[in-house]
């Protein structure tokens, strides 16, 4: 479970990237973060993961404050960044071993999971190659596997489908669903409204740092009381907020 309480992020003197956000992302739930570019999605995700300090308010991950108990909170988070260009000089396998050591995954379990997920995402034969030689999609897959191998309770994925081929994208969506159904939390950001509509239990629309809507897609449609497409509703919400 991820709880965001009165969180504000201020850059410089007065630029509010996130403005007094309150949100609870429950267990058993896939929560989708939607919003235009620069709305504050990535900043919020980075605050949840302890990458960016919080200016005001507090974030709890499984009841551990990310500011006060960062290690405990981070141990239960699996984060996929929006930029997959990471640790380019390592091989895929070295990267996954590194993740295993950092998250203290039992070696036999780590080996088993690496094999399982690398095969699932069709990356097994490339694990001995350096990451710098991977394509964008392969890097993205490796990052996703990096999250899966330490099996965290909370998945925080920043635009995880970007660059994935349809098969991998489908598998990831299946895994997200399965993970949430096992009593865990999945939070992800996306620009693809169809994915949000198809996958999310609830969505949050953020615009200019403020949450302008939180609820199910059905609730959103009901609220607008119109037969408009989700795309139209989204555009209206983010235009006038």
């Amino acid at each position: 479970m991820i709880t965001i309480k009165n969180v504000t992020k201020i850059y410089g003197k007065d630029f509010k990237a996130v403005d007094n956000m309150n949100l609870v992302i429950n267990d058993n739930e896939i929560f989708g973060f939607l919003g235009p570019n620069g709305a504050g999605k990535t900043t919020t995700i980075k605050m949840i993961c302890g990458i960016t300090p919080i200016s005001e308010g507090e974030i709890f991950v499984n009841e551990h404050s990310i500011a006060k108990n960062p290690l405990e909170a981070k141990s239960s988070i699996g984060y996929v960044p929006d930029d997959p260009n990471i640790l380019m000089r390592l091989t895929g396998y070295e990267y996954l071993n590194f993740i295993g050591s950092i998250y203290k995954v039992e070696p036999f379990l780590l080996k088993e999971r690496i094999e399982k997920y690398a095969k699932t995402f069709d990356l097994y034969d490339d694990l001995n190659d350096r990451i710098e030689n991977y394509s964008h999609g392969m890097k993205q897959k490796l990052l996703v596997i990096g999250v899966l191998v330490h099996n965290p309770k909370n998945w925080v994925l920043d635009e995880p489908m970007t660059g994935l081929d349809p098969r991998s994208s489908f598998k990831l969506k299946e895994m997200m669903r399965a993970h949430a159904d096992e009593g865990n939390t999945v939070l992800f950001s996306t620009h693809v409204l169809a994915v949000a509509e198809q996958l999310c239990d609830r969505i949050g629309i953020i615009n200019k740092g403020k949450l302008v809507f939180v609820g199910t897609v059905q609730e959103l449609r009901k609220m607008r009381q119109s037969g408009e497409s989700l795309e139209h509703i989204f555009l209206e919400l983010t235009e006038n907020a």
Binding site: P81, L87, L90, D125, N133
Partner: protein, 577 residues
């Protein structure tokens, strides 16, 4: 023409932005302009420091040359030295700007001619060389001109020289590299050629430092010798011959030397010479444009990624036997990151080794060149033993100073966080203790300097025949100083990281922390000089010297440990991409 101006503007702005470490507009808006102002102030201070040192050296040299009336001979030597500097930089700039730039894909879809891309890159390359001239050649020329009280025409000639010198050099290197590119695919064998470029630069720099040390040796005793020598120009003849070693390798540079030497004297040729060089440069530029029209398109269309992917060993993975300690994991990951990158390996890790090599070669040559019978290599054991037995405290401080100096060239700790680049976000999301992260990074820089120190110390003790316990004490004290210095470097990089780079070369070359790293080293050398003076004047024994060093550097380490305890995770807040 409009295309060229627009392209050049973009390329130059991109370069300037990287140089100043300026952030994206949105980020600058968020964080205010303080970072940019700080960067500019830092650059100005550094520029002034370099300017002042070059100016004063050249000023003294100018006065001496005028006094002994050998302006023309010295002018030839200096012209050659300048050309060697510019050539050394041009080789890499031409290679990286014209042949391995990663922005081809950006320009190719645009309605721009190949020759326009070429000219824009030429301008961008020239701007970079102007920057080198601004910090090295210009203050030198200015100091020399003031010292030698050169006439107006010499100044005019120097201005023309400064403005036009990069043109023939870039043009010739471009055409030469373009010719080579017919036989070798730079993009496909990029790693090999990157390594080759570094090797050329290092060999060139070593040769230059050796020649400079010979020159320095001579110039250092010039005042005295001028007074004693009947024919001071004979001295310069020797110097000139040594500098000519480089010129023989690059014979066409003598051509430029011929045009530029008179600007150190005056007269009509002081202007005509550089003017002729400028005309030759412009002609070479147009020739290069012609060449670019013919075959530069082929280079632009070369894929930016290796075309032939290496066959990967089929899955024979090395599974972990047990969980490794986070400090070890961070250290190993960082080590792999450095040793697998040619850029990091040569610029970050090997820099002290190269410095040590240059120092050793220069020292040996200086000994040989001095002709002093006391300076014989066979006297080294007795000399070292005498130093260790009779002056142990002084020897101790000198050895500590040596490793402190070499550590100042080791930029591993000074770029600890910078090397992570945008990946720092992911590192911050790991559940890893701050102390473990810092120690993992500290070990890399510290261990490398410690190994170098161990080798130096062992060699010294074998030659001097000192007792083992003293070797251990010297070693441990040296390691304490290395740890302290690496702590300072890491914390500075943590406080002022340069994370928004796109290439590893930018992370190293455009990183102001590297200069800070060197300044720390030189600052510590000053402290060591104070210790030396205290030891000499107060006649302190060895244990007092050891105590002074351990207390000072131990206090630095303790200070940082307290700081880590106090600030904790908040220290990582400075690392924002």
């Amino acid at each position: 023409m409009r295309n060229i101006i627009a392209l050049s503007k973009v390329m130059l702005l991109n370069k300037l932005g990287s140089l100043l470490g300026s952030k994206k507009k949105k980020k600058a808006k968020r964080e205010g302009s303080s970072t940019l102002v700080r960067s500019i102030i830092m650059l100005v201070v550094l520029f002034l420091l370099m300017f002042a040192s070059f100016f004063f050296i050249a000023n003294t040299l100018g006065k001496l040359a005028k006094q002994a009336d050998f302006l023309l001979e010295l002018g030839e030597v200096l012209s050659l030295a300048f050309i060697v500097i510019i050539i050394l930089f041009s080789i890499t700039f031409v290679y990286s700007t014209f042949f391995t730039a990663k922005d081809n894909d950006l320009w190719l879809p645009m309605p721009i001619k190949t020759s326009e891309i070429f000219v824009a890159r030429f301008i961008s390359c020239m701007a970079t060389i102007y920057y080198i001239e601004l910090v090295s050649i210009m203050p030198f020329l200015l100091g020399f001109t003031v010292g030698a009280k050169l006439p107006f025409e010499a100044i005019l000639g120097q201005i023309i020289y400064i403005v036009f010198l990069p043109i023939p050099i870039i043009a010739v290197f471009f055409m030469f590299t373009l010719l080579i590119s017919n036989f070798f695919d730079f993009q496909r064998h990029r790693k090999f050629f990157d390594g080759l470029m570094f090797a050329i630069i290092i060999i060139g720099s070593l040769s230059f430092s050796v020649l400079m040390s010979i020159g320095g040796e001579r110039i250092g005793s010039l005042t005295e010798e001028i007074q004693l020598a009947e024919d001071p120009t004979a001295l310069l003849e020797g110097l000139k011959v040594q500098f000519s070693t480089i010129s023989n390798a690059i014979s066409w540079s003598l051509f430029i030397t011929f045009f530029s030497r008179y600007m150190f004297v005056g007269g009509l040729w002081a202007v005509i010479g550089p003017l002729l060089m400028a005309i030759a440069g412009i002609l070479l530029f147009f020739l290069a444009v012609l060449f670019s029209r013919k075959s530069y398109t082929r280079v632009l269309y070369a894929p930016s990624a290796p075309a032939k992917k290496k066959s990967v060993k089929k899955t024979k993975h090395k599974a972990l036997k047990r969980n490794q300690h986070p400090v070890w994991v961070i250290f190993v990951r960082d080590l792999k990151n450095v040793v697998r990158s040619t850029t990091y390996l040569f610029n970050v890790l090997f820099a002290p080794l190269i410095a040590l090599l240059a120092m050793t070669i220069s020292m040996v040559i200086s000994f040989v060149a001095s002709g002093d019978p006391n300076m014989d290599v066979s006297n080294a054991p007795s000399f070292s033993n005498m130093a260790l037995t009779n002056y142990p405290a002084l020897t101790f401080i000198i050895l500590i100073s040596l490793i402190n100096f070499l550590n100042a060239m080791n930029f591993t700790s000074g770029t600890s966080f910078t090397r992570e680049g945008s990946h720092i976000s992911v590192i911050k999301s790991y559940p890893i203790k701050l102390r473990h992260l810092l120690y993992g990074k500290l070990i890399l820089g510290t261990s490398f300097s410690a190994v170098i120190y161990f080798i130096i110390l062992l060699t010294f003790f074998i030659i001097a025949g000192g007792p083992f316990y003293l070797f251990v004490i010297f070693l441990l004290c040296g390691i304490v100083t290395i740890i302290a210095l690496n702590y300072i470097s890491i914390f500075f990089d943590l406080r002022f990281p340069y994370l928004n780079w796109t290439t590893e070369l930018q992370a190293v070359k455009q990183n102001k922390n590297i200069i800070f790293n060197m300044l720390i080293g030189f600052g510590v050398l000053l402290i060591n000089i104070i210790y030396l003076l205290i030891i000499i004047f107060a006649n302190l024994p060895l244990y007092a010297a050891i105590l002074m060093v351990v207390i000072t550097f131990g206090a630095i380490i303790a200070g940082f440990e307290i700081h880590i305890n106090k600030k904790g995770y908040a220290l990582l807040d400075y690392l924002q991409v």
